[in-house]
């Protein structure tokens, strides 16, 4: 489980943030002692830090600057200050991303996922699922001599589900992922895409690839 450290002085925001991250399957920790932040961060050694700019004792940007001298733990700056100048400054200090409050929770999770993924290199061209070979770049699904073509939307949905295989993915998450890839589809289109994807896998002999969990979302088995 990925460890995410929350540095944020507003009590309600940080407890809700912790709940959001825990629900999304992260190990969320809160740093509430602001006197020795740098040492604390290094001893906790999180996989990612959500850092507010306005924190007591020390400015978030300064903390980031000090942290970057000793470590390259991914940092997402979170702030209520809206401005290109603040953002450029934070990025130049070595932030991996910059999000302004109030943020949409699904977008926040998406950005966290993207930053964490940047650290690993699992951008593979081919995926092996059951006994089916998926060629991501060519958009093709193969089993022995049978070939089925996936559309761009179907591929986005499959990869997103594949990366979270065995856990439930909410429709809203899938929708956000699609919109984040400039595919602005509606609810009906998502349902259609999923059933087509399901049929394509059935053709290749995997009967219940995507299961629907009522009121919760989908799960790739």
């Amino acid at each position: 489980m990925k460890k995410i450290l929350i540095i944020e002085d507003d009590l309600s925001v940080r407890s809700e943030l912790k709940e959001l991250l825990s629900n999304a399957g992260y190990d969320a920790l809160i740093l509430d002692d602001y006197t020795n932040m740098l040492e604390d961060i290094l001893s906790i050694h999180p996989d990612l830090i959500l850092l507010d700019i306005n924190i007591p004792y020390m400015n978030g940007e300064l903390l980031l600057k000090a942290l970057r001298k000793v470590s390259n733990i991914p940092v997402i700056m979170v702030t209520s200050r809206v401005g290109e100048i603040d953002e450029v400054l934070s990025m130049s200090y070595g932030a991996d991303d910059y999000i302004t409050k109030p943020y949409n929770p699904t977008i926040l999770l998406l950005r966290i996922g993207a930053v964490l993924k940047r650290g690993e290199k699992n951008i593979t061209d081919t995926i092996l699922y059951h006994d089916i070979l998926i060629e991501v770049k060519r958009g093709i699904v193969k089993k022995e001599h049978e070939e089925v073509i996936l559309t761009k939307n179907e591929m986005i949905i499959f990869i997103y589900l594949y990366e979270r295989m065995g856990s439930i993915v909410a429709r809203d998450e899938l929708m956000t992922e699609l919109w984040n890839n400039d595919e602005y589809i509606n609810d009906n289109a998502l349902t259609v895409n999923i059933s087509r994807l399901r049929n394509k896998f059935r053709e290749l002999g995997v009967d219940n690839a995507i299961e629907t969990r009522k009121g919760q979302g989908y799960i790739l088995l």
Binding site: D10, S12, V13, E16, L17, E19, L20, N23, N54, S80, R81, V82, G83, E84, I85, E87, V88, K101, P102, Y103, N104, P105, T106, I107, M175, T176, W179, N180, D182, Y184, N186, D187
Partner: protein, 340 residues
């Protein structure tokens, strides 16, 4: 100052001088003074006064001419005192002193107001950032507890209004608060769409976007705000039909890059279209849909002016509205940029 006006102003003194002349002249007749002396006296007497008046007139003429021509050219008229040379006659000196004092007190007043406005703006910005913190907590809460969609969309509205005042203040600011960079239109549109995703899906509005991977030179955050305002308007003034659409496209045209946002909403009446960019103008559509402030497009237009872009609005009532942003396609910059 014309000579005629000057003499008219001095008419009382002139009458007195002529009167005095006749009195002296009648005395001279009484004392039996010679004819030659009388003539000599008359010439010297009048010559003296003519020279006196001419001298006085010319001094004033040049001073007032300078002052009047300079005040015509000056935009901040209260600064006239800084531009004229000190006069060398009494009324002029008094006037100069008065102008100097007025100018000083005016400047002090302006400085006071300016610093009050700046303080106020600073406070509002600070307040806005403060208020966004509980708003974030609320958004996270509604998401975690899966509360009703009504709450989410109301919170979104609050956020939208907060953004409006933030950018209103920024657009009125004299100092530059932006950074011009190369901005990927796809990315801005994606961010705006994700922000409005829930409402767009709920209202079932179909989105198509084809901006041909074009990039423009602008401030990212400002452009994001501007597009968001246009999309918000499209959502607000949508017709109640099955086939709701927003279409976004971008293309090159001569030296410009045009970003076009089209919707098949209720449109704008032709009598209103010329005024939609005016401050607090709500028009006929403002009466149809609640929550019109008439500020959104005004702020967008102001930001456009500051960044050097143009906004054009085209509409047929009941059919469509098309908003175009026109950006300079700065070839020089992109050439330097690609070589670097």
């Amino acid at each position: 100052m014309k000579l005629g006006d000057y003499l008219k102003d001095k008419v009382f003194i002139i009458v007195l001088i002529i009167l005095a002349y006749f009195i002296i002249f009648s005395f001279m007749i009484g004392f039996k003074i010679t004819k030659e002396f009388k003539w000599c006296f008359t010439v010297i007497y009048f010559l003296l006064f003519i020279i006196l008046f001419l001298y006085d007139y010319l001094r004033k003429y040049f001073f007032y001419k300078e002052i009047l021509s300079k005040i015509d050219l000056l935009e901040e008229k209260y600064l006239i005192c800084e531009l004229i040379s000190k006069p060398n006659f009494l009324d002029g000196e008094i006037l100069y002193q008065i102008l100097y004092e007025t100018n000083k007190s005016m400047n002090e007043n302006i400085r006071d107001y300016r610093s009050k406005i700046d303080d106020f703006k600073e406070y509002v910005e600070l307040w806005l950032h403060e208020v966004k913190i509980p708003l974030s907590a609320l958004i996270l809460y509604t998401h975690n507890k899966k509360t009703s969609q009504v709450l989410v969309s109301e919170i979104n509205k609050i956020d939208n209004y907060l953004e409006q005042i933030l950018y209103y203040i920024r657009s009125e600011n004299t100092e530059a608060d932006y950074i011009i960079k190369e901005v990927d239109l796809n990315k801005v549109i994606r961010d705006v769409m994700l922000k409005n995703k829930d409402v767009l899906l709920e209202k079932n509005i179909a989105i198509t976007s084809d901006v041909c991977n074009l990039k423009v030179l602008t401030d990212y955050k400002w452009l994001e705000f501007m597009i968001n305002q246009i999309i918000s308007n499209s959502m607000k003034y949508m017709k109640d039909i099955d086939d709701k659409k927003i279409e976004i496209k971008a293309y090159k045209q001569d030296k410009y890059i045009v970003l076009e946002i089209w919707d098949n909403g209720i449109g704008i009446p032709s009598s209103d279209i010329g005024r939609v960019l005016n401050k607090t103008f709500t028009g006929q559509n403002g009466r149809k849909v609640p929550g019109s402030t008439g500020m959104g497009l005004y702020i967008v237009n102001n930001l456009c002016k500051k960044l050097g872009h143009k906004i054009e609005i085209e509409s047929i009532e009941g059919e469509y509205t098309k908003v175009k942003f026109v950006f300079d396609n700065n070839l020089f910059y992109s050439e330097v940029y690609s070589k670097a």
